[in-house]
Amino acid sequence: MKQKDPEIGVFMRKNSIYLALAVIIVLAAWWYTEQSKIDVDYSRSGAAIVPTPTNVLDTAFIGAFNNTRYVNGYKYPQDDSGIEAAISDLGGVPGAVVLPCGVYDIKNEIVVNSLGVSLIGFGHCTRLNIVTAGDAFIVDDSRFLLSDMEITISASSDRAGSVLKISGDQGTVRNVRIAGRGGIKNGKAFTLDGPGANNWTFSDVNFPGGAKWQYLFLLKSTSGTIASTHLTDIRVSNTNTYSGGAGLILDTGVDTVTCVSCEGLTVLAQNSAGG
């Protein structure tokens, strides 16, 4: 019969508590490492991404909280189809579509026709590439918010569309930089079209230079008035040019426009429709 080594037994008895603690520490470290993966991986975009725990923010579980959708390339592709799907999934009630850092190609128009849609980026690292020659966003309902992102015109040839074509009211655009492309006609930035486009606020909007635009802002209503448009901290390079007449065009039926801390924004106010 094999005898137990009495020294080993003594050792085990004396150190079992330390061994148990060591096992617990190793397990805790492993758990912490795995939990850290359930976070946002900003570096990924596109279809080649393998699902990981980051998907948790795309799930209906998260969506059920606060009515927020997260366009990070998993459930919602980082392009116009993903953004439109995310807006649709808000269910027609106010909510937020978050665009984390990444490049979003906009090849087709995105229609916003429900109340209180907020489209929120992470700042300069969220870039919308406007590829379509038509309108990028058509905002037909109230209280739309577009904030904290870079918008770049990336069409390969002249375009006529708007970045935002607006007929809903009480919207906001803030902290957005919109860069036209050199060598082409970049079309329009913001078109407020008709009497429904009241009470819009544009703040901290930057248009760098060297681009040909039709205009940056157009307010026009041939029936009724567009009232109370506020522009604040608008920075426009004076090397941009405008085939429509000016950067800001107020044409027919415009009532009450304020432009505060506006630099380099040319303005043309006219009544071409005799309204």
Binding site: I234, N238, T239, N240, T241, Y242, S243, G244, G245, A246, L250, V254, D255, T256, V257, T258, C259, V260, S261, C262, E263, G264, L265, T266, V267, L268, A269, Q270, N271
Partner: protein, 287 residues
Amino acid sequence: MGGDVSKPASSGGTAIKLDAVRDFRFQGYIGSSLVGVDIGSNAKEVEISNTEFVSTSKQAIIVRSGSKGGVNISNNTFEDVGSLKNNTYDVILAEAGASNFRIDGNTFKSSLANKPRYLINIASGASNNYVVAFNNFANYAAGDIQDSAGGAGRYIFGNVPTPSMGNIIGAAQPGTNFNGGVGFNNGVVFRSGIAAGTGLQHVRSSTGAIGPKASVPVTVKWQVAFPDSSYTVTCSVAGGAGQANANGLRIHHIESVSPASVVVRVVNDHPEFPKLGSLYCIGIHDQ
């Protein structure tokens, strides 16, 4: 006049062209344009305030003839305007017939050889109801409001430095000028004399010796000729220093008035001695 707003301001455009608009407010920065702001005849309730105008080749602001009114140009800084040609362009031009505007609290600067013609030029015509006040022209060698308008309700006052720079040139006079009626609801205290002007003036003149029981017409010449004879005059006769024998003199009536003088008939009632006194006259013009 003006420019093409579709061009970059740096290549000679008009930065803000308001042909027709209602209730427009602008604050910011306008640099390197041909014309800064062009306010047309169908622009109403326009405010350009707290804006820095820099290196404007021609006019910084034009208020066009027939402007609908409610134009406020306040608290802006105009720096190096009218640089395209010396003594040719005005920093702010109100065209003939532009009415209902206010230009106040602005500061004007220039470090260039080419200076503006006028800092504020209100063209000849029937411009009504405007105020030009509290502007600072301290950085210019010559004071420069050209006010040639002839309408009603025109107020120009409080611009500095005044009056040494010839604050107003043209139709009005240096100094603080109220070109329309002024109401004081709580009384007025004059802490200095009232200098002779074509609206109100006073004068003292010797009667000369008048024989006993005789009367003479005394001509009193105004210090400054009134524009015409439409004024009210009142006179009294008294003895002054060395004229203690004025007792016995009285004014019989005012015989005639002309723009430059008034003729007063003075009677000596003393039965025996000639008398010498002074006439004190005040004249107030109708308008």
